[in-house]
Symmetry: C2
Subunit: 226 residues, 2 copies
DNA sequence: CTACTATTCAATAAACTTATTGAATAGTTG
DNA sequence: CAACTATTCAATAAGTTTATTGAATAGTAG
């Protein structure tokens, strides 16, 4: 009985140690950023290194750790290795961790206030509401992510307008319609900048709630391709 | 413009570093266990040390880290310091992390199969279904947690039956009713043991989905007290 | 005010993590 | 088959984390 009890305690401890492997994978800012990039689309190592600003070797090391923790999977195509998230539940995990940090870590609140809320203190439009507006052609939806992320999947009817092309694109906008912009996630400056620019031009503009990965994971319709 | 771009990159990196603070807090098995204890009820340091098997100093250190990461809050009452979770979203975070580990970490699957699934491979009864059965007096609900956790909150109508009292309690059970047992979470051996014992006696018995914290956080009715 | 209790702090050693650098490996091309 | 490309591995130094131990702090009781 006594050895039975200690076996159970050891089992439970072992289980927590295993759960902690996922926590370890999420304990580094670089790995979190890599996960956010992979939430948009499958990517190769060299591309991930480039967009994250890490060396290829360092990127590869972090990806090994993410794979060991079960958060990503890989496939090889010729010389290139492509990484992807192991499931949509990783997006939920990232969103939950981000939400907890937003609510309970003062430094996060401070950073968000300093860089984001000053640009747009309005609440973003909820996904379901946006979907209704899209169905009734009541909005223009702008996806300000890089083209390859847009191609991998986007909100139906969205137009891919990287920020440096926004000026030119303005001429094609229906000024009667409200514009809604989205990016990779709820803290992507690009969506905030886009909204700020649109408002400067006198247009009604808002951000979408969260980013594209959350839209997709909520089971909402998705388009692919250019 | 260029300094603007690098400011934005620095901001985003800083944000991920802050998010990683939550990941760091979850990167140690002992801290995860402490969080599961706190999910049941507010506790003092000495009690947490006792039930987790850590020294008081070590427990205190881990609690400081959890507090710095925003996951717990504390209050002082005389000599004693009581810790509690900073919000129900921490329960969501723990559940999401656990779910990801269950699905994507082979060692977790192996541990669960070795210690739990062999005891009860039936699916646990979902919370909503249990609530309906409770309302219609169709089940007996057994809470196998320690009395102080039961007192802090439990499923309405549940009876607190620590495992070593189950034998005696059997005589009071209505053998016509199905028994449903629950504990601190989905991997608590006690709920599995209770179900195994009840079935040995010829009773219909199942586990409840997850544990009490998840029930409460789903907004389902809760009773307090003995 | 002293003695006690509960908790936290600080120093320490050992183990772990991180980024770097160069080597090794696997796949492709000519 | 040699040269090249893309990626991973291994060794390393520096920094961080963990548990321990004893000191320090805060609150209480007599």
């Amino acid at each position: 009985m006594s050895s039975n009890v200690s076996n159970k305690c050891a089992f439970k401890h072992d289980l927590f140690v295993q759960f902690a492997r996922v926590g370890k994978a999420l304990s580094n800012g670089n790995r979190l950023e890599l996960l956010e990039f992979l939430a948009q689309s499958e990517r190769g190592v060299d591309e991930l290194a480039r967009i994250s600003g890490l060396t290829v070797a360092n990127t590869s090391q972090h990806l090994q750790q993410l794979r060991q923790a079960g958060l990503v999977l890989s496939r090889k195509e010729g010389l290139k290795v492509y990484y992807r998230l192991s499931g949509d539940d990783i997006i939920t995990l990232l969103g939950t961790l981000r939400g907890v940090a937003e609510r309970h870590v003062a430094d996060v609140e401070r950073l968000v206030n300093t860089y984001l809320t000053v640009k747009d203190s309005l609440e973003p439009i909820p996904r379901d509401e946006l979907l209704e507006r899209v169905k009734h052609d009541l909005v223009t939806v702008l996806d300000v992510r890089p083209p390859e992320e847009f191609a991998a999947g986007h909100v139906p009817g969205a137009v891919n307008v990287p920020l440096d092309e926004l000026e030119q694109y303005l001429q094609k906008l229906d000024p009667e319609l409200e514009a809604v912009a989205y990016c990779r996630g709820p803290h992507c400056v690009l969506a905030f900048d886009a909204v700020a620019r649109l408002r400067e031009k006198g247009l009604k503009a808002r951000r979408m709630q969260d980013g594209f990965p959350e839209w997709k994971q909520a089971g909402l319709p998705v388009e692919s391709g250019e």
